[in-house]
């Protein structure tokens, strides 16, 4: 904002009272809007840290299996001290671990990234480097935008219909969950990569062609490396979003309490642990811990993506 507003210029004395009041009220409402959105966020984050910190900082949490007896322990608690607030130290020993779900989230998200990112980058290369304004590229671009808007639960149902229904219960696996997440990530990767390819100066492509490089070598050796930081950041944001998703994997991965290293067979994830424990008697503590862990993973990915973006924007500034 180069030009100062009338109040910044100190000329408010010339304004009528009505105009001054209206301006101040409008500005105040804008600031209030920010507060209204920020307050719940702060409350949620503080609660998460408050309720989950002691779990997330214990070694058991990152190494042990998920307790399958929380409901039983809760019941025993309530039976023993009926009417008194239930405590966690009860007759039934509960070891609260979350390692299987942490591993599951990393496995499923990692697989989904491995499926969707190469495919998405290639598709974006087609859209920007080859297709540009051709009919096919326009159609693909249009439907990619449409696919970005498809709700994540639809991807879950889709995988359920083509994978779990034909294969039966045995079809539920980390692989199936990752395919659903990949469907969710693909259009996001395509669109963000295309935006980044657009930022690569044409002079680079022309210089490469002038040296006699065929177009595919120009793309692989010049254009993609130049856009790499931007593409990386877009992909990490897509991964971060996918890691927090519950709906797509809800019908696809099944549930286990011990770690399952394989991409086949039932598995579990942090998001589905939060969902199932939220409503389970005695499970709320675990749910808070899992939520804090999930937020930590998502935040780390998001922050790294932002840092990469920052470096990239310096790269091609003007």
């Amino acid at each position: 904002m180069a030009t100062p507003t009338i109040e910044e210029a100190g000329l408010t004395g010339t304004l009528s009272k009505g105009r001054k009041v209206r301006n101040r009220v409008a500005t105040g409402l804008m600031g209030t809007a920010l507060l209204v959105a920020a307050v719940p966020l702060v409350i949620v984050l503080v609660l998460l840290v408050n309720k989950g910190f002691h779990l997330v900082t214990s070694a058991n949490w990152w190494t042990k299996s998920i307790p399958s007896n929380v409901a039983a322990a809760d019941l025993a608690d309530k039976a023993e001290y009926f009417g008194i607030e239930p405590s966690t130290s009860s007759a039934i020993q509960v070891t609260t671990g979350m390692w299987p779900a942490i591993y599951g989230t990393l496995l499923i998200t990692g697989l989904a990234a491995a499926f969707s990112i190469p495919l998405g980058i290639l598709a974006a290369v087609y859209l920007h480097e080859y297709g540009s304004k051709r009919p096919l590229a326009r159609v693909i671009r249009f439907f990619t935008d449409v696919m970005v808007g498809v709700p994540s639960v639809v991807m879950g149902i889709f995988l359920y219909t083509i994978w779990v229904v034909p294969l039966g219960r045995g079809g539920r696996s980390a692989l199936a969950g990752s395919l659903a997440l990949a469907c969710l990530m693909l259009p996001v990767v395509v669109r963000s990569t295309e935006e980044m390819l657009r930022l690569v100066p044409d002079a680079l492509r022309q210089a490469s062609s002038a040296l006699g490089a065929p177009q595919w070598r120009t793309i692989v050796k010049i254009v993609l490396p130049a856009a790499l930081p931007g593409i990386t950041s877009g992909c990490m944001l897509a991964i971060a979003r996918a890691a927090g998703e519950t709906a797509p994997i809800l019908f696809a991965i099944g549930s286990v309490t011990a770690v399952n290293w394989s991409i086949f067979g039932q598995n579990t994830a942090l998001s589905s642990q939060i969902y199932s424990n939220a409503t389970q008697p005695g499970g709320t503590e675990i749910a808070w811990g899992a939520a804090l862990t999930l937020i930590l993973i998502v935040m780390v990915l998001t922050v790294v993506a932002r840092l990469v973006t920052k470096r990239f924007s310096v790269h091609f500034a003007r």
Partner: protein
């Protein structure tokens, strides 16, 4: 490449410029390879539509038009009328939009028109964090913390309006699980989405127009009304529509707080059910016709969100053509 490098610089003939046949073949292969990757998007979308419709078909055939116009959802008697769920989705997204749009608009204006650039970075970070909180975490908070607290708020509102004819029906007594709770949480989740699009739209307002208005003595608010809004109408509509699309599909948070009772009632504080939430809760445990009916809800949801997204694109283009003279 070798043809070019091998010859002298003056020997650049047509053959060298077009490359050897092998080079051309490699280029064409790579091009097809990338085109195939692009086509997978179309293939997946088509597969989603076909496979879901196919699996949902038994329910559509069993119910006929009743699937969409009947509110009788009773798996035990094989009755699957989805109207109550459609109603729930419409009500929840309407609440979310009504709450989220003014807030997003305020934040976007605040960020782009009012504050200093350094403050802007901070606010953007807050919004990024808000956008990064997974749906299920908001759901957990809504279910365990917000629900009991907000039930008292609802009930005191209900007591306050118990004598007023229409309001009495819209704001009734509540357990905390309700359309309203779900709508508020969804609003929180779509605020960062709508805000970020509106921010981009406001950033495209030409600095000359803004400076001109300010130089003529307009207050900041008058400048926003006279310059920023007219220039951004299309983009703002687009942002709202995208937020709406996202709100309709929001699943897990809604499933945790809406209350799982398919009913069509005016009371916004009453328990309800939405399309994505009943799918999330029941699909794993369903069988036979119920599975088909739940997948059918997915088809309806899929179709609705696609329609909203396409309508958004067209609307934005139409409004921009009228207000900006662009195509």
């Amino acid at each position: 490449m070798s043809a070019l490098l091998g010859g002298s610089p003056t020997a650049l003939d047509a053959v060298a410029l077009e490359g050897s046949p092998g080079m051309q073949r490699a280029d064409r292969a790579f091009r097809w390879f990338t085109a195939a990757a692009g086509l997978t998007v179309l293939v997946i979308l088509a597969a989603i539509a076909v496979s879901m419709t196919q699996k949902a078909w038994p329910a559509f055939r069993h119910e006929g038009l009743d699937y969409l116009v009947s509110a009788d959802w009773n798996p035990n008697q094989n009755r699957f009328g989805a109207l109550a769920m459609i109603y729930g989705t419409v009500v929840v997204s309407a609440i979310a939009i009504v709450v989220a749009v003014p807030i997003s608009l305020g934040i976007a204006l605040f960020v782009t028109q009012v504050v200093h650039r350094r403050v802007r970075t901070w606010i953007t970070t807050v919004l990024d964090v808000l956008a990064a909180v997974p749906s299920v975490v908001f759901g957990l908070w809504g279910f365990l913390v917000l629900r009991p607290w907000i039930a008292e708020v609802y009930n005191s509102i209900a007591d306050a309006v118990s004598g007023v004819p229409v309001l009495r029906n819209v704001f009734g007594h509540s357990s905390g699980m309700s359309f309203m709770t779900a709508g508020l949480i969804v609003a929180l989740m779509i605020i960062p989405i709508i805000t970020s699009i509106m921010r981009e739209v406001f950033a495209t307002v030409p600095a000359n127009d803004r400076d001109g208005a300010l130089a003529l003595g307009a207050t900041r608010w008058e400048m926003i009304r006279g310059v920023v809004f007219p220039h951004s109408t299309g983009g703002m509509v687009g942002a709202v529509m995208l937020g709406l699309g996202r709100a309709m599909g929001e699943t897990i948070a809604v499933a945790l707080v809406i209350g799982a009772s398919p009913q069509i009632v005016a009371n916004l504080f009453a328990q309800g059910e939405a399309m994505p939430s009943i799918i999330a809760r029941n699909l794993n445990e369903s069988a036979g016709l119920q599975t088909a009916a739940l997948i059918g809800l997915g088809v309806v949801l899929f179709a609705l969100t696609i329609l909203v997204n396409i309508a958004a694109k067209r609307l934005v283009r139409r409004i921009d053509a009228r207000t900006l003279g662009t195509r």
